[in-house]
């Protein structure tokens, strides 16, 4: 779980870092990716691993399109309007899905990743293992992309200082669109990996929006690996505390951690700003 949280949170943090907008519709893109995996599996019989490249491709453009159509117009709007806008977008996606596919809980059929690995005393499903390493690999790739390539450097520059980046000849509008594309692509990847072992449900999106937000707040806005660690920690807190104490209260622990972090370390654990 932690790996997926971390990946989704990194996507959120990328978008936030670029244009200072919190995307409250973030988890709903994840939910849609889960549905895409489910339907491709159910109707076409595709394995989630086959669906994956298609989802990545489509989600990238969906993210960029969201930026072009909606987000670009609210870049300079007051914070409240930005918040409500992405929040409303999330509601729209969530209840759109609800309208078409109702609130039934669905599950992707057996696939390449089904089955359980036996590591001595520890049993772990293959799907979870793949999700964990897949999300780690994706985060590492994203890190390399941002640090090493020209485009990645443009993204860094834009998130540090937009005006200066513009003057250096970076087309910030395009960079923003790509940032959204990549952020949403992370979510798409998370969604596909998650769908291999996690029930597909309309409301899971909102939970992931909140959790990724909390992970980013925990890790600290602007810190790449901090956010990754934040997501991992949320996963650990949720599952360890939830299992040790009372499972129904696991989200209570997550929210409580979040509030404590905000009070005592408002910049997050590794935050720069």
């Amino acid at each position: 779980m932690g790996g997926i949280y971390a990946l989704v949170a990194v996507g959120l943090s990328l978008i936030f870092g670029l244009m200072n907008i919190v995307n409250f519709a973030h988890g709903d893109y994840l939910m849609l990716a889960m549905y895409a995996t489910f339907w491709a599996n159910y109707l076409l019989g595709w394995d989630p691993l086959v669906t994956l490249p298609f989802v990545l491709f489509i989600w990238f453009f969906a993210g960029a399109a969201t930026y072009k159509v909606v987000i670009r117009r609210i870049l300079d709007a007051p914070m409240v309007a930005q918040m409500f806008c992405t929040f409303g977008l999330g509601l729209f996606l969530r209840y759109g899905a609800y309208f078409f596919w109702s609130a039934d809980v669905r599950k992707v059929n057996d696939n390449l990743l089904s089955g359980i690995l036996d590591l001595g005393n520890i049993y772990i499903t293959k799907a979870e293992l793949v999700a964990f390493f897949g999300s780690f690999a994706a985060t590492a790739l994203l890190f390399l992309f941002i640090k090493k390539t020209k485009l990645g450097k443009a993204i860094q520059a834009t998130s540090q200082n937009k005006e200066a980046a513009m003057e250096m000849g970076i087309r910030t509008d395009k960079v923003n669109a790509i940032g959204w594309g990549i952020g949403i692509m992370c979510v798409g990847l998370g969604g596909v990996l998650l769908a291999t072992y996690y029930p597909v449900h309309v409301y899971s999106g909102w939970m992931f929006s909140l959790i990724s937000y909390i992970s980013v707040a925990l890790g600290g806005f602007g810190s790449f690996w901090g956010v990754y660690l934040g997501g991992m920690m949320i996963g650990v807190i949720e599952n360890v505390l939830g299992t040790v104490f009372i499972p129904t209260f696991k989200m209570v622990f997550v929210y409580t951690t979040f509030i404590f972090i905000l009070i005592y370390r408002p910049k997050g654990l590794f935050g720069k700003f």
Partner: protein, 341 residues
């Protein structure tokens, strides 16, 4: 000039009297239960939206946790009614006290947070409350409480027809609107607007921002808890899913946002448009509870944030602004701080 001023003032007063007259006569015009129910819910959301507006609209602190107070009001009065037999007329008072304690508690925790941190902090607390209520035996967990039906009993605030409920909520709505109008013009209103503009600067000018935010939050909580008690007595059934769910609480936030945050007319306008629309969507496409009304909410918020971030009140202002501007100060109290620009 004096004369025109006087004339316009009377126009405005006539407008208010006309609307109030229509509302007072409403149960006689519409005798079916359904339109009456819609009007009751509409007025309830005017009150809730207005209560949210005091903190969220005027001081810019977006609370996503106001439904905690609603639930506290509803649960306190209902449990006192069921366990001690206390009539809800008195039960609202402990409910309001509990809600204000909760508001102080939440405020103490969250008022250091800015912007979206505050919003998510309050939301987190609301979700914690929801989970606790779902699992707490004392409040009957997810089952909630049902208030036994007694037919007509003014003592226990229960009636077989909707008229008394209608007049109670109408009175509340009128009082709350008048109250917010007063706040708008008071020093508290000015302080809150200053905090919204720039909290650090307001602080440096000697405004104890924390104190005023807390005061606004407590006022907001008390009004919201009253409405909670009313709702419990009207529906006669409460459970965590219907009171503490974010979906239920959404209109509280969306209504002032759609109408215009930080204005007296905003929540009224928002509720008048959204509640009948939601009801229409629910009855038309609502087969199987597919939440079309929330889909529409989402769409409306996105469109508003894109094209009219200050709410529909801006459109009204542009259209009728000149008429109101003729008498200067009065309109700014009605429309909020940006009127003069």
């Amino acid at each position: 000039m004096e004369r025109i001023l006087e004339k316009l003032k009377t126009y405005k007063i006539w407008g208010v009297i006309l609307i109030l007259g229509f509302l007072v006569l409403y149960p006689w015009i519409f005798t079916d239960p359904h339109p009456r129910h819609i009007m009751i819910i509409l007025l309830m959301y005017v009150v809730l939206g207005q209560a949210w507006n005091i903190l969220g609209g005027y001081s810019g602190q977006i609370s996503l946790g106001n439904h905690i107070f609603f639930a506290l009001g509803a649960y306190t009065s209902t449990m006192l009614l069921l366990k001690v037999g206390m009539p809800p007329w008195i039960g609202v008072i402990p409910g309001a006290m509990l809600a204000s304690i909760a508001a102080i508690f939440i405020g103490e925790i969250c008022f250091d947070l800015r912007g979206h941190y505050f919003a998510i902090g309050t939301l987190g607390l609301a979700e914690i409350t929801y989970i606790i209520f779902l699992n707490w035996n004392f409040v009957n967990r997810a089952f909630g409480f049902q208030i036994p039906i007694l037919k007509n009993s003014t003592y226990y605030v229960q009636w077989a027809n909707k008229e008394p409920y209608f007049y109670i909520i109408l009175t509340m709505a009128v009082l709350v609107v008048a109250f917010v109008w007063k706040i708008d013009k008071s020093t508290l209103g000015v302080y809150l607007k200053a905090i919204k503009e720039d909290e650090e600067r307001a602080k440096s000018l000697g405004i104890d921002s924390r104190r005023y935010k807390l005061l606004a939050f407590v006022i907001s909580a008390v009004i919201t808890s009253f409405t909670g008690t009313f709702y419990a007595q009207y529906i006669l059934y409460i459970d965590p899913d219907s009171l503490l769910n974010l979906e239920f609480a959404l209109p509280i936030i969306i209504i002032p946002m759609v109408g215009g945050m930080g204005t007296v007319l905003g929540p009224i306008l928002g509720a008048t448009l959204l509640i009948p629309l939601a009801e229409y969507a629910r009855t038309t496409f609502g087969g199987g509870g597919r939440g079309v009304h929330i889909l529409i909410y989402g769409l409306i918020i996105v469109l508003l944030a894109l094209y009219e971030p200050k709410g529909l009140i801006e459109i009204v202002k542009r259209r009728f602004g000149k008429t109101f501007k003729l008498y200067g100060d009065g309109s700014s109290a009605l429309f909020g701080e940006n009127d003069k620009s």
